[in-house]
């Protein structure tokens, strides 16, 4: 699957450039943070990588071949919670793989213990707090042992303690051998979790550099202003 080589990737619905010629190389380990202002195309990039959106141009090379059928998972900002128990919601991820129900539940329970939700396994998933629901979503993705995990602002609207718990799980998943790409607006979180940073704006990748260098010496003016909390378009006023 790795390295993933993205070349001149475009997504232009009705001619509007949401992704405008993205070039990326994604190696096989670490956590990459995708940063950028709202509307930069971060979420669309993740959706394109996991096959939810068909690009209108460009190529993606997954270790010399096409995107594999399995091995790529994505966790969304507002994860799906079916009207069933926490255990059923997690075990659901193994259903497409044809794993027997009993085996699914057994494996789901093991993962629930790792994300600290085993004690709530019989509760309704919809009764969990926002942080717990996000941990459930991470557990569901983790259960499939993905090679690449895409996280779309998993801690947006979570309080600091729930955020810390999600970050702990993300680190564990990474230690388990999963490559992670994650979007966030939380720069503190980026410094805590990231190995490298992709900075996007207006559908383009402006910068892809190691975390330390990105925050110490951003190579683009837009990235520098973003880090400082300035919004680039204010310059136009």
């Amino acid at each position: 699957m790795f390295p993933i080589r993205v070349r001149d990737l475009r997504f232009q619905p009705n001619g509007r450039p949401v992704l405008d010629g993205i070039d990326l190389d994604i190696a096989d380990e670490g956590i990459t943070l995708v940063l950028g202002p709202n509307g930069a195309g971060k979420s669309v990039l993740l959706r394109t990588l996991c096959g939810l959106i068909a690009p209108t141009g460009g190529t993606m090379d997954w270790g010399g071949g096409a995107r594999p059928e399995r091995g790529v998972m994505m966790v969304f900002q507002h994860p799906m919670m079916l009207r069933s128990s926490v255990l059923d919601n997690v075990a659901l991820a193994l259903k497409p793989q044809g794993v027997a129900r009993q085996q699914r539940h057994l494996r789901a329970m093991t993962i629930l213990e790792r994300v600290g939700l085993a004690h709530r396994s019989t509760d309704s998933a919809r009764q969990l707090s926002g942080g717990e629901q996000q941990r459930l979503a991470l557990a569901r993705a983790w259960l499939t042992r993905p090679k690449l995990l895409l996280l779309d602002e998993p801690t947006a609207s979570l309080d600091p303690s729930a955020t810390a718990e999600v970050e702990r799980i993300v680190r564990e998943i990474r230690t388990d051998g999963t490559r992670i790409l994650m979007t966030t607006h939380n720069l503190g979180q980026a410094t805590r979790l990231g190995d490298d940073v992709i900075f996007m704006s207006a559908g383009k990748v402006r910068e892809h550099s190691p975390l330390q260098r990105f925050f110490a010496r951003p190579s683009s003016e837009e990235a520098r202003l973003f880090i400082q909390g300035e919004l680039p378009w204010r310059l136009n006023f």
Partner: protein
Amino acid sequence: MPTLSSTFAEAFVLLLAFDERVAEIVWLSLKVSGGAVVLGTLIGLPIGACLAIGRFPGKTTLTVVMNGLMGLPSVVVGVVVYLMLSRSGPFGGFGLLYTPTAMIIAQTLLVIPLMAAIARQVVDDAWQRYAEELQVMRFSWWQSVTTLLHDCRHSLMVAVLAGLGRAMSEVGAVMIVGGNIDRATRVMTTAIALETSKGDLPLAIALGLVLILVILVLNAVAFAMRGWAMRRYG
């Protein structure tokens, strides 16, 4: 000439006395309509879910047709089923005409479009919310259908109730394919029509009251179940 109050009084007497004729008719009605709703659920709900989730040419046309068939006149269904099951029809050899089975078939055909159309709407709403995650998990088309039908089970109760209401209240189709034969194919609606035309209003009223009561009780049970489920699962 009997007054309204005396007619109702006689009707209550029939009910309180647990009149054998009334009980027989009510029981057959429940069997026929219940059977039709079970079949309608097994066929109509998956059809609705497939329409919501599937991507195929003609989907919009099929959806419009399905919605239009919700108002299918029961007598039309009755005539079509009659032609299919009559001696000269393609299924005449089974000898089903004027049997409760024929009535179940006719009512099933009546409720399928209604239940499918409601199910399509309910499942479509859920699909809009869940599609991306199910696709990411590589759910097959059929796995998505079954997962969403299960997830929407409490909302789909509305489709089942609507189907039951339609089946229990229709008279045209069962009259044509059942023949309204005493102690064989006479159900509440056909009996009410017959007894009214004969002038036996107390029996007609008694049956009408039972019909309303059955529908009310079933709705109340479904409402209570849905309320419990919403509290339990959100």
